[in-house]
């Protein structure tokens, strides 16, 4: 974790080491155990045990009972079902588009907050945090009201109501983008906070225009924040099913919904677990990939 933090530029490994070297309480080792006991237990009970159950489910023959043997059929089913590639593609398109939309909003927003907002900086930060405090389901329903056939937007635009606003990929992308905008903006904001304002004046002085400054100074220096934002946001979007359930349509059926429908709809725990496990594996690969990119960026940029 310390190494990851260092790579991503959030505090350094030195800090961690210094913190560890701090004043030791008598019986330090036992003290540390006492402090860590509760969170470790919590993690094991609430995360590791369900995870292991899921992994077991994905390899147990149907119907699952004590006599069932083990099989890889569920994985074969997931990988060969012709429906899955198209669902995966839809999920990828929606999550990636939302990610791009959020970055396009978050980068200028974070820049504005750090370098231009002055006394409004704290207000904007607070607004972002408050926007996230709202329960996701409430937000999704709010978008239903805004985008619906009799919603605010259709009421405002001339030329009669438009149908593609709601129950569509568009609606899912808009809703996901607003749901995760806080988690995209804050890490980028934190990374930009570390940039010395004189850096931009120096670049101006050396002849760089705003686009060159954005490309050669701002984005490379904000890169650690951008990667943290992508890890924080992209993976939850891959598994999101609430949003697409409420504002999505036939063209926005996502992986999260598929897992939910397999397990809760069909009672097909085996295939649902196998698909879920593959999603998790993909998420881990994606995170590691982003981590690698962040590292490379620090070496090369």
């Amino acid at each position: 974790m310390a190494e990851l933090q260092e790579t991503l530029g959030i505090g350094s490994a030195d800090d961690t080491r210094r913190a560890r070297r701090g004043p030791r309480r008598p019986g330090g080792a036992r003290g540390a155990f006492g402090i860590l006991f509760a969170p470790v237990t919590l993690l094991v009970v609430l995360f590791l045990v369900p995870f292991l159950i899921m992994v077991q489910m994905s390899v147990v023959q149907f119907p699952p009972n004590t006599d069932s043997g083990y099989t890889l059929d569920h994985y074969v089913e997931v990988l060969t079902n012709p429906l899955n590639p198209s669902i995966a593609w839809t999920t990828f398109v929606i999550a990636t588009t939302s990610m791009i939309v959020m970055l396009v909003i978050a980068l200028p927003l974070a820049y504005f907050m750090v370098f231009k907002a002055g006394r409004w900086e704290l207000f904007l930060l607070l607004a972002l945090v408050l926007a996230d405090e709202l329960a996701p389901v409430v937000k999704v329903y709010a978008w239903q009201v805004i985008l619906g056939r009799n919603g605010i937007i259709n009421w405002l635009i001339p030329g009669g109501p438009v149908d593609w606003l709601l129950y569509s990929r568009f609606a899912v992308i808009v809703t996901l983008s607003t749901t995760y905008i806080t988690y995209t903006t804050i890490p980028i904001y934190a990374a930009m906070k570390a940039i010395e304002p004189a850096t931009f004046e120096a670049a101006t002085d050396l002849g760089a225009g705003w686009w060159q400054q954005a490309r050669k100074i701002l984005i490379p220096l904000a890169a650690p924040g951008i990667f943290v934002a992508m890890i924080l946001v992209y993976i939850p979007m891959l598994t999101d099913f609430v949003t697409s359930d409420i504002v999505g349509g036939t063209g926005s059926y996502m992986m999260g919904q598929r897992v939910r429908d397999l397990i809760l709809g069909e009672g097909n725990w085996g295939t649902g677990s196998a698909l879920n496990f593959l999603l998790l594996a993909m998420s881990i690969v994606l995170s590691l990939g982003a981590y690698r990119l962040a590292r490379l960026n620090r070496i090369e940029a």
Partner: protein
């Protein structure tokens, strides 16, 4: 050592009747300065005196509300910073932390799309000029403060600017390093023949490096002169106090004989001052440097001040001993005695001494108008002194 012929306008900067206001505060008030090409020019003053604002207007980061800025004869008042042939070195350096030293220095050339060979050549030359050869592949974070400062210098100099603008560039360094860098900067300026415009609040720093200094206060230039002139002939009590240590004495003019003013203190004691013109009526403020005051032993000449006093404090400073002497007028004078002999005896506190200095060494810095205000200061201590002055 400028390589430019006189009449040549290379590196010349003209600040013409420039005013800058921030809301209702006038930061710079109708300032006019001419900086000839190849000069090491400093703007010196306390914070808020308008020196940095003036520099930023020359760089193009601030637009004047009135007046013009001319670079090498061309009006650049409304030209954006990159289009002016000047570069700036910032107090916080503004180095690009994600780039190596070489990449930092090559930033300007790459933006200007110089050819690959020219960029490589000039970057190498600039890095060599600031003595950072071998550090090309390091990151700014791996360098010391002084080395980072040199990267900032190389990054600006590689563009071959007509003038280099430096905004307190040594402010973040410790004293020892600062002194080294001062000499290095002066050397660099002489080697490149570039006009340097240097902003600082440290009078010693300005004195060490500059050809000429503009002492600024409250948005105006109090005096623009060579370091020697500033020290010997301060134009105002403010300049006298800001440059080095100086004594301010309020002079009551009892007699005047041509340019010679006399204040009689009885028993043959008197304070003398010389003025070249009639600007002094019956009151004046004079300044005298501590090392110009001598403890008299024998006869004192006609044209010399001659005044008795009581020693109240003696501080041994190494090369000099500083005495504080209380005059009958109630003013306290700082006197520096050069310790040029081992075993020399210093006066003790409480001892009566007689002081003398040549009339020419009493320099009139203000008359009637400012006298009341200055007298207040003089009574409070008689010595105007700044941080970093010779006594420290």
């Amino acid at each position: 050592m400028s390589t430019h012929r006189s009449g040549d306008r290379i590196g010349e900067i003209l600040v013409d009747a420039v005013t800058k206001r921030f809301d209702d505060v006038t930061a710079v008030d109708d300032i006019s300065i001419t900086i000839p090409g190849g000069e090491f020019f400093s703007m010196l003053g306390p914070s808020g005196c308008g020196k940095t604002t003036t520099l930023r207007m020359i760089a193009g980061f601030e637009a004047p509300d009135a007046g013009r800025i001319l670079l090498q004869g061309a009006d650049v008042t409304h030209v954006p910073p990159p289009k002016r042939n000047v570069n700036m070195v910032f107090q916080a350096y503004g180095l690009f932390p994600h780039m190596t030293v070489g990449e930092n220095v090559a930033f300007g050339p790459k933006i200007k799309k110089w050819s690959r060979e020219e960029t490589r050549e000039r970057v190498a030359e600039a890095i060599k000029t600031v003595r950072l050869d071998g550090f090309e592949d390091r990151r700014p974070g791996q360098l010391s403060g002084g080395q980072q400062q040199r990267v900032a210098l190389a990054r600006a100099l590689v563009n071959r600017p007509a003038a280099l603008l430096l905004d307190e560039p040594l402010g973040a360094l410790d004293l020892k390093l600062r002194k080294e860098m001062q000499l290095e900067l002066k050397d660099l300026q002489q080697r490149t023949g570039t006009t340097f415009v240097y902003v600082t609040h440290d009078q010693e720093e300005a004195m060490t490096m500059s050809d000429r200094i503009a002492v600024m206060n409250g948005g105006v230039v109090e005096q623009l002169a060579t370091p020697k002139e500033l020290y010997q002939r301060p134009a105002s009590a403010f300049v006298a106090g800001f440059i080095g240590t100086s004594n301010l004495i309020e002079l009551r003019v009892d007699r005047r004989d041509g340019g010679l003013l006399t204040m009689d203190l009885g028993e043959g004691q008197r304070i003398l001052a010389v003025v070249p013109d009639d600007r002094v009526s019956d009151r004046a403020t004079i300044t005298v440097r501590p090392e110009w005051i001598k403890l008299s032993t024998g006869e004192v000449g006609d044209r010399a001040t001659h005044v008795g006093g009581t020693v109240v404090d003696v501080v041994y400073l190494g090369s000099v001993t500083q005495l504080i002497v209380l005059l009958p007028t109630g003013e306290r004078l700082t006197v520096h005695r050069l310790n040029d002999e081992v075993g020399g005896e210093d006066p003790r506190p409480g001892q009566q001494v007689t002081l003398h200095w040549a009339a020419e060494h009493s320099y009139v810095v203000g008359s009637e108008a400012g006298a009341a205000e200055i007298a207040g200061n003089a009574k409070a201590g008689g010595t105007a002194e700044t941080a970093g002055a010779t006594s420290s």
